[in-house]
Symmetry: C2
Subunit: 395 residues, 2 copies
Amino acid sequence: MRPLENIKILDLTRVLAGPFCTMILSDLGAEVIKIEMPGTGDDARSFGPFKNGQSLYFLSINREKKSVSLNLKSAKGKSIFKKLIKKVDVIVENYRPGTMEKLGLGYDVLKEINPALIYAATSGYGHTGPKSTKASYDILAQAMGGIMSITGWPGSPPTRVGMSLGDITASLYAAIGILAALYQRKATGLGQKVDVAMLDCQVSLLENAITRYQVEGKLPEPLGNRHAGITPFQAFRASDGYFVIAAGNDSLWKKLCQAIGREDLIAHEKFATNPLRTQNIEIIEAELQSTLGQKTVDEWVAIIDDAGVPTGPINTIDRVMCDDQIIARNMIVDVEDKRAGTIKIAGNPIKMDSVPEIPTRSAAPEIGEHNQEILKSLLDLSDTEIAQLLNLGVI
Amino acid sequence: MRPLENIKILDLTRVLAGPFCTMILSDLGAEVIKIEMPGTGDDARSFGPFKNGQSLYFLSINREKKSVSLNLKSAKGKSIFKKLIKKVDVIVENYRPGTMEKLGLGYDVLKEINPALIYAATSGYGHTGPKSTKASYDILAQAMGGIMSITGWPGSPPTRVGMSLGDITASLYAAIGILAALYQRKATGLGQKVDVAMLDCQVSLLENAITRYQVEGKLPEPLGNRHAGITPFQAFRASDGYFVIAAGNDSLWKKLCQAIGREDLIAHEKFATNPLRTQNIEIIEAELQSTLGQKTVDEWVAIIDDAGVPTGPINTIDRVMCDDQIIARNMIVDVEDKRAGTIKIAGNPIKMDSVPEIPTRSAAPEIGEHNQEILKSLLDLSDTEIAQLLNLGVI
């Protein structure tokens, strides 16, 4: 049995930060019930890429979830929602702060209905502070949180991380908060609110940049593909592309020099220690590059790996999808979708004894696909009542 | 009371992926006991930046933890370790797979001693698969997991994300796995193994790149600071630096054009919809840039924000540390260290009712600082016995 097998989650989230969070909890066994606006649904349903009219953006982060259509702006919709709140363990939303309160469905209202409810929200700026109610998107979090100022190349414009780091980090922290609240509820019987901001999460990721600035008084800047304090620990250009070498200490440095036939560098006084190597990085780069340009990526990776020095290719997405280790770890799995057919998506990276590997996942739901199932099983509604709700546009 | 107030964690981790994971659990209330090699301790103690001989790299991710020195290669050290295993809930390690087995302290051995133990491991490639036992570092995970192939600028060399995304994402997923296992243990009474690989985590972050490749048959490439499917959603150059605009839909696009005095762009047929704007991004960039270069970052952010369009500065680290929202959310907190004095580090981004904000955190421990406290309270050792262990070099 998976860890969250008996947990029910009402999922009001749209686009990425929220849906990615509930996908993780779904992989751990929770039943995730998406609440979607009748007709339109999750905004991400209209985001490309598309296949046969199906949004693969939506499909890749909403697999295995259920969908109930419900208009939360209507009085009947609100009333049904409040009844559902009594039946679930967790609600997750990623509206702009204040939206749930305007709907009359804020945490203060919901916890009266179900004191054991865990209410988790992800937002751009969080539910407190002077910028709280402003709209935000991933790129604002990446910009204001500092990561763009330290990613990219010296002298180039600020660079965005090539995926939505702002959203997805908030998803991960929100999942941690929800699980901690579930654990605590076993002792107290009570739920609580979990409030995760994209901007806060970006700050938490800055690693040593904050302390480096305090000690050196110099603003941390982008370093291309180098490490701030370890050398050589970066990409090099082989004859047919780039690959990386991570020689994190003196012993690995010596092994690297031997492996590539550059024993002459070992005795060089400017390269004797890691701090010296970092100080003289331009010279080291030029010396290593002059040798490393002479063979292919595969040749160098084999030679350097044989010497016990960490190295690897810079995989493009096609190579990621067929890397033997990634395949062996079930990190590329199939989803069977009625419209799009078989699509490959990322698997679950949390390998636990109680979470079986599933090579094929069921598809993401259509809007309202589980209206009958959920409204009957959780609220005991009849076919007639459900038909009426449909006629009224409530579901 | 914090969610994990009664949880004890034996922390065998070094450097980043492991220590960042146990820091999160410590923030949630767990007692984290670092087990360190006598004399040398966590490798990160020798990583810069330094202040008065104290590693701020180490300090920033080991605040509030306890330290017990213990030589796990000695028979007496192993015996003490096994006794400690009976007294704790979780063990976290980030050794290369196979190391704990070589020490005779693999999960199979430890679970016999304490069947309720949760054993969590983070590693480069994971505990299964053909590359499992190879050494890895952050940059290998970023390279082989695909993120470097989609970060940076078209035509530039592959770019590393400016922080250790490989390590820290593994920390977050491991924390999720540990919490799920703790939750499940409440029902089963049994622990389990949690196995998280940096490489797997990188694959999970690729977002829509995997499905884009399947639909378009074209390898996703770096896009600088643009979004793959939304326009304008990127950085622009003001007269004194860069800032970002995220106009995610038609209504925001119109508001943006009005706000910056470029109503002429609204009627332009090539810019009528988001797909058209993305298709014609070069023209849009040039048009907007010609206007946006005429005022400062602060002026544009004020004007565009007033119009209700998401916008923000690209904060360098100094600005991150004094941003009013980041300060209001307690995301920059002080640590008081005996040697380094007061140092500012990132706070806890999981805001929960049961986790009080702590503006000042206690420092990271010295090696073996809590030998007396832990060995007495958990194992009932006497002063004489502890002195003997010290003489023998076991602690």
